[in-house]
């Protein structure tokens, strides 16, 4: 078990150390000097947020800014960037073909208040982060008491660990929150000592069924493409559906894969045949011994399963030419057969959400 934890820390370290090289240009309307200032080159943490970079960006452009009050916002090719979405997610979503460095524009005036929620700097981002964490806690535990009852100093320490990219400090504080994880099916499949005996749980309190916090960003394209470079740019947030819904996991002996999770979240993109409980082609996990466990809330599970099945039957399959072209999580494009639990246990953002970017092609 210790080896599994070490491996998990390793993966989380990669995630926390991931960064996007940014080349930040000042918008021409705010350039008051000649020659115009060069762009700022900044390595932005994937798990961070753009407004947190302002202390690095502002000094770079200070001498050229027009006088007045600064209201800072970012934009990529005309699209105002939502500051409450982690930087890595924005990059994965908006840069189909990853652009390095990522050329974005910073504005110090003219905040588009009709599109973007106001941002007053670090405090706004911190509030948004804590709010997301509460939501995740509610999804996992059925209440957000653990987050609400955090001491001021713990809350600050947690927030600073995110700002500074300090994974150890983050794990130290977040472990107090006791946010149950789901069983790591990958590990139990790999290890020969997978059977831990009935009812045994480790310190993280793994559960067999439950809801996983997921934020799904779905970009719909009507054109077909061979190369990611050929895709037209996202010019409006209208082209992206934001699906903020938990994935409900039901353990039935076989592995719950990313494919299963996608069917759960986007049933409209899967044909009726694949919605039934058929085996996934090429993958057979029936050898995994069923470990009996206590259902934490059996009634709810039954109700959820019923509802889930119902919604699958009701869902309208769009057409055979609608397909999911791309799935990106933390810049990785995982195979559909990967156990969903592995993704959850290794690729979460600090807000305890799994952010998934999906590109789908739909018929005209």
């Amino acid at each position: 078990m210790r080896k599994a934890l070490q491996k998990r820390m390793e993966a989380q370290k990669y995630v926390w150390e991931g960064a996007i090289p940014l080349q930040i240009h000042l918008h021409e309307s705010q350039v008051t000097t000649l020659p115009p200032p060069p762009p700022a080159l900044i390595l932005a943490p994937r798990i961070g947020y753009l407004p947190l970079l302002v202390p690095l960006i502002k000094p770079h452009f200070r001498s050229t800014l027009p006088p007045g009050v600064d209201t800072i916002w970012f934009e990529y090719r005309g699209l105002p960037l939502k500051w409450y979405i982690p930087t890595g997610v924005l990059f994965d979503l908006l840069c189909a073909e990853p652009e390095r460095p990522w050329n974005i524009t910073v504005h110090f005036r003219g905040y588009p208040g009709n599109v973007l929620i106001p941002c007053d700097g670090e405090d706004s981002v911190k509030w948004s982060f804590i709010n997301s964490l509460k939501e995740a806690a509610y999804i996992i535990n059925g209440n957000c008491k653990n987050v609400m009852n955090m001491s001021q100093s713990d809350q600050l320490e947690l927030w600073h660990s995110v700002m500074n990219g300090n994974l150890e400090a983050y794990l130290r504080v977040s472990s107090k929150l006791k946010l149950a994880t789901i069983e790591d099916e990958y590990t139990s499949l790999c290890s020969s000592k997978s059977q831990q005996g009935s009812g045994e749980t480790d310190f993280t309190g793994q559960v067999k069924t439950g809801r996983v916090p997921v934020r799904l960003y779905v970009w719909g394209l009507s054109e077909d493409f061979d190369d990611l470079e050929d895709i037209s740019q996202v010019d409006s947030w209208e082209k992206i559906s934001y699906v903020n819904r938990p994935v409900e996991i039901h353990k039935e002996g076989k592995c719950f894969t990313l494919h299963d999770a996608m069917k759960n979240l986007l049933p409209e993109f899967f044909s009726d045949e694949s919605l039934s409980d058929s085996k996934l082609a090429g993958v057979d996990f029936e050898d995994v011994q069923k470990i009996p466990s206590e259902d934490v809330s059996s009634n709810k599970v039954v109700e959820d399963r019923g509802q889930n099945a119902y919604e699958h039957r009701e869902a309208c399959y769009i057409s055979s030419s609608a397909e999911i072209k791309l799935i990106r999580i933390q810049g990785i494009e995982p195979k559909l057969e990967i156990p969903f639990s592995w993704l959850v246990n290794n690729l979460l953002n600090p807000d305890h959400f799994l952010h998934i970017c999906v590109c789908v092609k739909v018929p005209q």
Binding site: Y138, W237, E311, E314, A315, V362
Partner: protein, 249 residues
Amino acid sequence: MCLATLEVFWTVIEVMMDVCNWDGTVSAKDFRIGALSFAQKWESLNSAFPPWSWVPCPKHSWLASHELLQEEGYLSLENICISRPNEEDIDQNSQTDPGEEETSCSEKEDDIDDATLVQSNHHELHYCDFHVVYSYTFRVPVLYLRAYCSDGRPLLLDEIEKELPACSSKELPETKWAFITQEEHPYLKRPWYKLHPCGTSEFMKLLFLGGDTAQPKLEVVLELYLLSWFSAVGQVVGLTIPCKMLNDR
């Protein structure tokens, strides 16, 4: 007979819940059924109240031309004048006084015909849009609102708080279950104000506790769920339900 208070309302409810197992939440499908029924009933009453309508919304805005069977959407009530009348007039937007059981119901119906409210010219009118949206996270309905002047200029929270004092950061904690924040509307993708649902499920469970728990029946009347949710939330933003909605049970 007219029922003007929430407490009296619940004594005539015949539905009994399996209180032990129900946690106060509903599914998305249940919300839709309840909301459609709620909107239909409201409109059929032909009252002086402006009607709530169900606005279907595709799950993916870029698939608007395709009809997805599993319709999503929200309840909408728009262009409601929330401006307070001049001091001399009766405060028509005040919350229901529990003591006024008998007298005021029919009066209240006439009073809250905001469309015909007469204001003096120097007092600019403020309007509000209300949307009831289902939250997949909390599995309860959530109220979103947006306020603006007659020229379309959006109102800031402190301006809204002047018209709807129950929404203020001082008063909301008194309700012990809600506070108001600015967030992106899940379907319209614009900044709206949201009444936070943390605690709604506990509240809803409490509401349904009136009744004989010795004989639990698993009969969930979904329309009632939305009605009761609305009774509670509506008080916060100064909206009331026509008495006929409550009577017709």
